[in-house]
Amino acid sequence: MDAGTILVVDDELESLRLLTTVLQSAGYSVRPADSGELALRSAKEKTPDLIVLDIRMPGLGGLEVCRQLKADPSIRDIPLMFLSASYEAHERIQGLQLGAVDFISKPFQAEELLARVHTQLELGRLRVHLEKLVAERTAELLTSNRQLERELAERELAERALRETEARFRTMADTAPVLIWVSGPDKLCTFFNKGWLDFSGRRLEEELGDGWARGVHPDDRDRCYQIYASSFDARRRFQMEYRLQRADGEYRWVLDTGVPRFEPGGAFSGYIGSCLDITDLKLNQERMLASQKLESLGMLAAGIAHDFNNMLGSIFAQADLAIADLSPNSPARQNLDHICAVAMRASEALNLLMAYAGGEGDETGFEPVDLASLVQETLELLKISITKKATLQTHFAEDCPLIVANSTQLRRVLLNLVTNASEALGHKEGFIRVSTGLTRVRAGTVWEGTGELPEGDYVVLEVSDNGCGMSPPALARIFDPFYSTKAGGRGLGLSAVQGIVRSHHGAIQVRSAPGQGTTFQIRLPCAHAAEPKKSAGPPAVHETSHEGHTILMVEDEETLRLAVSMALAKRGFSVLTAADGHAAMALFRERAHQIDAVLLDLTLPGMSGAELFHEFRRIRHDTKIVLTSAYDRDRVVATLGRAESPDCAFIRKPYRITALVNVLLAIVRQPTMERARIHTR
């Protein structure tokens, strides 16, 4: 094993030899040098493990050699021991300051020299080893540091991307037109967007966790939480509707959709959900459904009324026929008169049925209407449905001008108001007062909830009762379609009333107090003064001789057709009958010149009564026609687009034979302007 190479420098040859011998004997490889210059060259050429250097030498002294060695980076780390006979302390100190590691005095003990050399060599080796270790560790640290820097850069990029994503999400969430919430895996909410906070009017801190549930309507809260919790546990998407309180205190229906969130690794991290305010949508849907149901109801009621009218018509005709041959004192006459009277009552109930179901009138038809007459007619129908505890009081001002109105809609208004008044009385006795009148509205008159009414004359309809009345909060919301003062959720339908009044350019006002009854006052603008009052129909003609009058009766209801035709024949009319439009057309084409009047049912299978009407008039323009229908006059006018005229009359089903005869006689006795123009196909 190589014990190490030592450069020994001494100008004294004897000393140099001794040193060489001692060191070689210990196994070291020795390179002797007798001058400082040689020592420097030797050290630079091949680096020794240790230099033993005499201080005092001619030429380049030991201290200078040491200085130059330490100045050269390639050899500066070689350990250097000074050797000197001098005992000058300052030399030793100077030597150590220049970088020497030890100092040996001459003469030296061989053992001491070897011990010190060994120690320095060992220290040198350890230093080299240590430096190697440090270098290796430093390299490792550098590698780790670079890795760490890369990771830090990557993390910074990821964090920046995350911050951008979060900012993007927050921007999207805050600008989205929905309420957004996020919950963690513990069901508690951790985020609400600006839309939610604006909607609820509460701070984020108040909504976090389960604070949001305080805004849910108490009636919906349990159901809502149950759906949320069960869906949450099953990690299932959910959708639910509930009422959420808005900042203004109003509960709004929201559609809440929640979906589970999972991290990239698949771990469940909670839910994200969005709420949409569907109150208006729901309102429209419910209105549409209600409208459809009422439409179906109307069709059903109209169907029933149509059939019943025909059956009552045949009962009238059959009873009239049976009576005709009875002696005035016959006991059966009284019963048959009773049957006719009761059938008349039944027909009034039928009219009410049609009015309730909205089967009458054209919804869009506005025409001059005498409000007092309309109210009187409607009240007659309503009498049977109001509480028996109520006394109906009426007052109709005379000579009120006409209004331009939709009769059907106004009947509904009256039905609503009177029905409400009746219900307000409940089981207590009281009155329902209905009146009409005339008032003048001055410019600048403002009605609460309506605004300024245009100056002019207005017809007033007032419905009042002395029933239970309403509290101020109830009164404030009375026209809200979703508000009811009644247990069981019965609506007043006053929003519809208000809508109808507004569509007539009128105004409605209500006064009420608990225990003091309620008064509704409606003002409707008068029609122009030139509007004529509605025709009262053809003048009544008393039944006399009817010889020679030929009537074409077009009626699909067989029982009615047979009974009426027989009754008319018994009164001297010559009656032709047709069960449908085609048969009627065939008969009319063949015998148009013989027919004095047509009794035409408007509701026929196949070819409609309206089509027949126009065909008859096309063939013979002055054909006299008596229209008949279960619907009222307004509906017939709307269907045909014409009012009554001298050559066209109307009689509503069911009718008494006497009334029919009067109408027929009145029309056939009207002078005909031009008889001869008959067109046939």
Binding site: L300, M311, A349, K486
Partner: protein, 88 residues
Amino acid sequence: MTGELENGDERLELRDVETAIHNLRNPVSSIWSAVEYLMEDAAETLTQEQLRLLRGIEESSALMLQIIDGIVKKGRLGSKPAVSSDAT
């Protein structure tokens, strides 16, 4: 609440229509009873033609009663619409 009130409004209409139909029952029953009485107690004083006419009245009134009772008993007008579930 909205649905309840809307249904409330609807019930109002349904109830009133049912009431109107029910109000028909009394006069129609009265007609039917009067005809029945005439045919049983006064048949001897009536001609065959008059009896035929009375049978027509009886048939019409019986049919109307049948329709009224069918509607009122089966509660056709009061049937409630199906309700959909909230949860999905």
